[in-house]
């Protein structure tokens, strides 16, 4: 998280944190394990009231940011989500709202309005099953047929597919990208529940079998949505990174506290040099994660040319080193740290989930290598 917040930002972060502490403490998260949606409607509406879903939406659609950089403000929410392992499709709902707002067109206004009030949620259908499961490897077909578009293909994992009122589907029209806003219940669209490492985030396999929709559901230009998709991907990764740093912070804080409180052989764990040095490593990884996550978010918000290399660095670093950090927190806790009643796994779960979505560390290292090659062959 940012080292220095404005007063507005700090208030917003604090109010969010308070709401999360009230609505979704650890016991509630555990009780939601088998809930089909993973959260209560009231919880989401209250969050929307605070502004969770309006930061990337233009003022003309009723949205607005605190600092002028909505994405930066939103990562404060994401950080708190991570610190509380909070439920709800924060990243995808915001990203869809942003795209709808930017694409304009009056028929989205109602959808945006419902997202802003938290009455409904939206999701983004981006990733696809093997062998199309690598980043930028999707092949869902969006074909124009008169004044209709026809969708064929499979998307997975799709977050909150079952609860969403609308699904923004990215696909291919020939060599280009298109995006279609599919309403829940569209004929030919079927959802199958997936399992995930997270307690409250829900995912589906969504199959599109000749799903026909009016052309007005196309968001942006048909075949020319590449930049839209890229923007969405950047935003969703930035939000996920901020959330993951929040999970690392929570696990780290819990474990530092444990190390001070817990005694072994008459001494606090925190007095054992070997553990102290591991905490030093963790602190280093944690600060580094904050740093690169914040820098990536700002670069995305400002549209800087190095946004992609910062983002992929963040996603790869936070993914790998975050896993090691939280797993070491588990190790330091000992057996209690792998029990269901302990809170630590809530953060391990959320981090592990985010690590696997929108490109694993390995995939992002490959993207970074592509950037090196491009730069080096340019010079």
């Amino acid at each position: 998280m940012l080292l220095a917040l404005t007063d507005d930002q700090e208030l917003f972060r604090e109010t969010t944190s308070k709401l999360l502490g009230e609505f979704v403490p650890a016991e509630v998260l555990r009780s939601l394990q088998d809930d089909a949606i993973g959260f209560e409607a009231e919880y989401w509406r209250r969050g929307a009231d605070l502004g969770w879903t309006s930061l990337l939406v233009g003022e003309e659609h009723g949205g607005g940011s605190l600092s002028g950089q909505g994405l930066v403000d939103l990562t404060l929410v994401a950080h708190e989500f991570g610190r509380h392992a909070a439920p709800g499709p924060l990243a995808v709902t915001n990203v869809v709202a942003a795209t709808l707002s930017e694409a304009g067109g009056s028929q989205s206004n109602g959808v945006i309005g419902d997202l802003l009030t938290g009455r409904s949620i939206a999701t983004w259908c981006f990733s696809e099953p093997r062998p199309h499961d690598r980043l930028d490897n999707g092949c869902l077909d969006i074909r124009v047929n008169g004044d209709e578009v026809v969708l064929n293909g499979v998307k997975r994992p799709v977050e909150s597919g079952h609860g969403a009122s609308h699904l923004l589907v990215s696909g291919r029209t020939g060599a280009g990208y298109s995006q279609v806003l599919v309403p829940a219940g569209a004929s030919g669209m079927t959802l199958a529940t997936m399992q995930s490492v997270d307690l409250t985030r829900r995912f589906s396999v969504v199959t599109f079998d000749d799903v026909r929709l009016p052309s007005s559901t196309v968001i942006g230009e048909i075949g020319c949505a590449g930049e839209q998709v890229t923007r969405q991907l950047r935003r969703v990764i930035a939000i996920l990174c901020a959330e993951s740093v929040g999970t690392m912070q929570a696990a780290f804080d819990m474990t530092v506290e444990w190390a001070f409180d817990r005694y072994s052989f008459g001494r606090p764990l925190a007095s054992y040099q070997e553990l102290k040095h591991r905490f030093a490593d963790m602190k280093t990884w944690l600060e580094a994660s904050h740093a690169v996550s914040d820098a990536a978010t700002l670069a995305v918000a400002l549209g800087e040319p190095d946004a992609d290399e910062l983002l992929s660095s963040a996603k790869a670093f936070i993914g790998d080193f975050g896993s090691e950090l939280i797993q070491d927190c588990v190790q330091i806790h000992g057996g209690i740290g792998v029990t269901f009643d302990h809170d630590l796994h809530l953060f391990l779960r959320r981090h592990t989930l985010n690590r696997g979505l929108y490109g694993t560390p390995e995939e992002h290292r490959q993207r970074l290598a592509d950037l090196v090659t491009m730069t080096e062959s340019a010079t």
Binding site: S127, P131, V197, D261, R267, G337, V338, T352, E362
Partner: protein, 422 residues
């Protein structure tokens, strides 16, 4: 040693082989890699336990149980070489895994070392024939790695002792029979000098077994709450307040694990090894088994499998011949913990996004995420790798002991947490 002519290893091996092939089921080896997967319900678990008792009985009747136990307690009084041959023959077959650790070692091993003749005669044959499954009542919720800091209280009352307190991390106490229990009998002396060890039946009034739910839903582990449980003094193992003499050997047997000649455990000594087989299956499921990067992982896994096997063999030889100190068993424990963690991580890496969200038809991939969540178990269970590193540096390499602040003061005055302190 007895005067009876000893069966030579090859004859024994042939006998074992023919018994195993004729009477037991071939099994897949996945269970060895991921013992804590939540894949069995309670009924299935109880059926498995019953089958293992039955197999143990068959082995007992066939003269294949208790290879290195004395004959007078129902054992075969043979050598570690015989046990190793048996382990090799078990490769790929069902075996009574739930009756090995902790029943045969450390529990029966401790009985052999410290039990009275009556205690041994009463329990060891019953253990070897599958009637009694034993658990270690050792760790405590407040204890962490400091097992000698036991707070389970035992107070003498005539010919009996009254036990109060809680033990934790017993595997399957709910289907087990007896517990080997470390207690504190004197709070007014330093920690190591006020302990005593008892044995007691698990299913009795005042002893409540609570199943611990692990983060992946597995409920193999239990916690026991003892309230005024009465144990006759004849069920004490070792001297009053001298429990740490017992405890030291107990810890040794625990570190020995797969190296113990008291334990039957398939060696995995065949051409393939469980980790590599498993990781290869994950890679195939992910459609990535031919990528060089993934093959690097597969190769690494086979390397770890093989190196661990050879390391354990070397340590086993070293301990058997006395060229290594008892504490060298910690070297094997450390390696196996770290290697298992690495193998889980590798499987998770290969699974990619399927490690985060999956469907049931993802096959082996479907386990990679929750296996990863449970990754540290192999570095925690059975004594943490941290404790192993302490033992290696201090007891094997002879480096200065870590300073303890609880050594020379009465145990009741030792601070046990920052909160208890203030």
């Amino acid at each position: 040693m007895s005067n009876v002519e000893q069966e030579d290893v090859e004859t024994f091996r042939q006998r074992a082989r023919s018994f195993i092939r004729n009477n037991l089921q071939p099994i897949s080896s996945d269970a060895l890699v991921f013992p804590l997967r939540n894949v069995r319900n309670d009924d299935e678990e109880l059926t498995a336990v019953a089958r293992e008792r039955e197999v143990q009985r068959m082995l007992f009747d066939a003269g294949l149980a208790g290879i290195c136990f004395p004959r007078k307690y129902g054992g075969q009084e043979l050598t570690p070489a015989h046990q190793r041959a048996l382990n090799e023959e078990f490769d790929g077959y069902e075996y009574p895994s739930r009756l090995q650790a902790p029943t045969l070692s450390p529990c029966a091993a401790v009985l052999l070392d410290f039990g009275s003749e009556e205690q041994k005669l009463r329990h060891i044959p019953a253990i070897l024939n599958g009637e009694e499954i034993w658990m270690q009542f050792l760790s405590e919720p407040s204890g962490g790695s400091d097992v000698a800091g036991a707070q389970m209280s035992a107070i003498r009352d005539g010919d009996e002792w009254v036990l109060n307190g809680s033990k934790i991390w017993t595997t399957g106490a709910w289907w087990s029979d007896w517990g080997l229990c470390l207690t504190r009998t004197n709070w007014d002396v330093p920690k190591h000098r006020g302990l005593s060890v008892f044995i007691l039946p698990i299913h009795q009034p005042g002893l409540e077994v609570h199943r611990i739910e692990m983060l992946n839903g597995s409920k193999e582990f239990c916690q026991e709450f003892l309230t005024d449980v009465r144990v006759p003094d004849s069920d004490r193992i070792g001297g009053v307040d001298d429990g740490w003499t017992v405890g030291t050997r107990w810890m040794f047997h625990e570190r020995m694990l797969t190296n113990s000649p008291l334990v039957t455990m398939p060696t995995g000594a065949g051409r393939t090894s469980v980790g590599a087989t498993f990781v290869h299956a994950v890679a195939q499921e992910a459609g990535r088994a031919s990528e060089p990067h993934i093959r690097d992982y597969i190769g690494e896994t086979l390397m770890l499998d093989i190196v661990e096997r050879e390391l354990q063999r070397r340590i086993g030889d070293g301990l058997a011949t006395g060229t290594m100190a008892d504490q060298a068993a910690a070297v094997g424990r450390l390696f196996s913990g770290v290697a298992a963690t690495r193998i889980r991580t590798i499987a998770f890496e290969i699974a990619g996004g399927a490690g985060a969200a999956w469907t049931d038809d993802d096959g082996e991939l479907a386990f990679s995420g929750s296996d990863f969540l449970m990754r540290q178990v192999s570095c925690i269970g059975g004594g943490t790798t941290e404790m192993a590193r302490n033992v290696i540096s201090e007891r094997v390499l002879g480096m200065p002991r870590e300073r303890t602040l609880d050594k020379d003061i009465p145990y009741r005055d030792v601070p046990r947490s920052a909160s208890s302190r203030t």
